[in-house]
Symmetry: C2
Subunit: 465 residues, 2 copies
């Protein structure tokens, strides 16, 4: 590509300069500040490399609370405070052990597994049981107690790669992680293994929350990497096809995870006070907690750092917002949502008027647009700003959606919700795996997201909804 595309430059330049409305002047300032002197990438580096994994209840989660609190203080936001919330405290324990035991030779092969969040431990000596593969709940049901009792169920349900959006694949397959253990226990299974939630074939198992059905026995559950899932499925096929009923493959599983008593933690909140309508609050946030396997870079360090950047930049370029803007670092999105619930509860108690809540929790990739859950007239108002976002590639204002942490605000208080929507084709390389590290985040992509988020928050603070 040696061609020098002057036309592209001219077009981009003219889009920014042709209509010098006050808004476009502010937007250019936002853009320049972030591209030239943006802090979110360096801040993210600190969060990832100096603090790292920060599962709810952990020491690192606490460190992250105080660090973000001090960071926002250092940026001189009008108010910075902590909002107390009791959170669950699940710990993974020792590195899990998963082994496939050949039914004929007895030889053992280690596979890459990770306990699902909230899982109980195996007995200290582990469990060893025949393994039975199912593709979905229909197959499980057909096997019934006769086919499942005393065994370990292996859900091998691949992402449907025919879907365009990886989040759609996740939406379709996620139930096998979330309720798979209890559904297997319904038929007497002693353990449950789920194929990792990703469209990539690799060695990195994806953890994630699962929820036991309290009316059923609790059994240990884990995820297996996609590469090992494919291999295991092949082994089991050999079982069925060649060895006869007497030589069943077994699985050995050992996990020491544990749910400890709830602990005190915090949502971390920073605020720029509105000059004309301080009572009207605009939220922008992400979740401060992360899974424990990596650094929580894309999930959700990027969303957290972009949210703080929104306020930092507006202050830096001298915008005095008409309405109050709050950056909210929610605690415990990954395995409880206690922070999001507490935030909504306090908003209700204090009779706060939240006019918009935006969540950034879909990775720090190039922006594609914003999803919205709100009345049509509000959507219409927002869509009138679309052209301002198009030079940044954020053009898609069609989808419905908000976010998990702001969900309680939306559901309980009817707050209009918006989700920052970046490109997501690479998201499931990293999601809930040991690969979710700082190096996976591209500086420019992160900055582009911070810019369009700041633009949107600025416009809503100027014009209301």
């Amino acid at each position: 590509m040696k061609q020098i595309i002057t036309s592209v430059f001219l077009l981009a330049f003219s889009l920014l300069t042709s209509a010098q409305t006050p808004d476009s002047v502010i937007i250019k300032k936002i853009s320049d500040e972030i591209f030239v002197s943006g802090q979110c990438y360096q801040d993210l580096r600190h969060l990832c490399k100096k603090i790292g994994a920060r599962l709810t209840g952990s020491v690192n989660a606490e460190k992250a609370v105080y660090w973000t609190y001090n960071l926002m203080k250092s940026y001189n936001f009008d108010t910075v405070y902590l909002q107390e919330v009791m959170v669950p405290h699940w710990v993974r324990g020792e590195k899990e052990i998963g082994k496939v035991i050949n039914g004929l030779s007895g030889s053992e092969t280690l596979v890459n597994i990770t306990a699902l969040g909230g899982s109980i431990a195996t007995p200290p000596q582990g469990i060893s049981a025949e393994i039975v593969e199912v593709k979905d709940f229909d197959e499980l049901k057909k096997l019934g107690e006769q086919g499942v009792k005393g065994k370990i169920v292996f859900y091998n349900h691949p992402f449907d790669v025919r879907m365009i959006m990886p989040f759609s694949m996740y939406g379709e397959a996620g139930k096998y992680r979330y309720i798979g253990a209890s559904e297997a226990a319904r038929y007497g299974a002693v353990g449950s293994i789920v194929r990792s939630m990703t469209n990539y074939i690799n060695d990195y198992p994806n953890t994630g929350a699962q929820g036991y059905n309290d009316s059923l026995p609790k059994i240990p559950c884990c995820a297996i990497s996609t590469l090992d899932a494919e291999w295991l499925s092949g082994e089991l096929k050999k079982d069925t096809e060649k060895k006869g009923a007497g030589a069943k493959t077994k699985f050995y599983l050992k996990m020491t995870c544990e749910t400890l008593p709830d602990v005190k933690s915090y949502n971390v909140i920073g605020e720029l006070r509105g000059t004309e309508h301080p009572e009207e609050i605009i939220d922008v946030g992400g979740h401060l907690d992360s899974w424990d396997l990596a650094e929580g870079a894309h999930d959700d360090g990027t969303g957290v750092m972009q949210s703080i950047e929104v306020l930092r930049v507006l202050k830096k370029i001298g915008v005095k917002p008409k309405r109050t803007i709050r950056a909210v670092m929610f605690m415990n999105e990954e395995n409880g949502l206690k922070g999001g619930e507490e935030y909504a509860k306090q908003a209700e108690l204090k009779k706060e008027k939240h006019i918009l809540a935006m969540e950034a929790d879909a990775g720090g990739f190039t922006p594609r647009g914003f999803s919205m859950s709100m009345d049509e007239d509000k959507k219409t108002k927002i869509r009138k700003w679309e052209k301002l976002f198009q030079p940044y590639g954020a053009w898609d204002f069609t989808k419905k959606g908000g976010g998990a942490d702001i969900g309680p605000l939306g559901k309980k208080l009817g707050v209009p919700m918006m989700g920052f929507s970046p490109d997501n084709q690479r998201y499931f390389i990293i999601h809930h795996t040991a690969q979710d590290v700082f190096e996976q985040v591209n500086k420019r992509e992160l900055e582009m997201g911070a810019i369009v988020m700041t633009m949107m928050i600025y416009l809503v603070s100027e014009y209301g909804l």
Copy 2:
């Protein structure tokens, strides 16, 4: 991000199923075939890992010609043939040596440099001269012969990161690489160094074509990595500020590059014959040659493999195109454009009727749209198909542009041109550097591009322009 976004899935699904026109059925087939059984990623792996760097005139370029020829044969395209073209044969020679020599202590520091394509060699013993930094041609002109003669000019012109699109930054800064050497020679410089063409600060110098002005002396020229450019600039500042005129920093440069006699090479062409209007030809292509520092993965292995994929998929799903579709692997885009020129020349000689030429040479990232250089009525026709592309994120049909290789078709024969436009925020991480390797390409992103390219070529083959 644990939330299961069913709404996104439903939306994507309904977009694909709500209007079951014949076109949408074909498009779904194209999409499924590429997502489930696509070959372009594996083919790219072969091109990058089994062949590798393929600078025009090299043995690898020849290997790439025969491999792509046989690949298209194996896919049973209606016609596959080679189009002879004489191409330049520049070779880099031994690894370049660049050293900064401290004016006071005489200590030497190696820096990361790479010869620019087409540069002459230094004398065998290298050259050593005082170095003078300029930010742009204005500064060079002000220094004039008095300030430049006998010295090495160091163009330290960073990408302007305030621009949204990296290609715009490249468009603005590229002249210092392309004509910098001759402009420095105009004032008597003995060598020229250009800051690498990238917005990333790293250790990888970017090579690329440069063109001597034949009326001026030829001097050796290279690029220096951005990290070393920043460091060198700091060293030179110390010079100016602290050491006085007697302790100037020098630069030692040794390069053994050489321009050998032209050699015979080929454009590689595969064709699906049109059933209704075989005389109307639609081109889709990229360039088969690459720079020699890496594997030419994004530049332009992806474009080449996506172009072949277009024809493979249409054949595989049983589409018999109404118009003739040609995949063209151009030779010598990087340092001569001889393949593109020859292709247009032959089209003119044979009085071929080309109704559209599409070029994919901007990386294998997620699609954003297509640039167009053609009459307004044709653009209007194409824009009517926009909605079909939007689910794939390819929504931008506003920009002007085509491509370097199809440029001669457009300029000489007035053929309507179109450029495949992917996201480009990550492009200058890899562009013309040792980092342009297969591992930088994401499978899904590559496939998304192949899908929208196939869709566009299919629609034009059905409806003409």
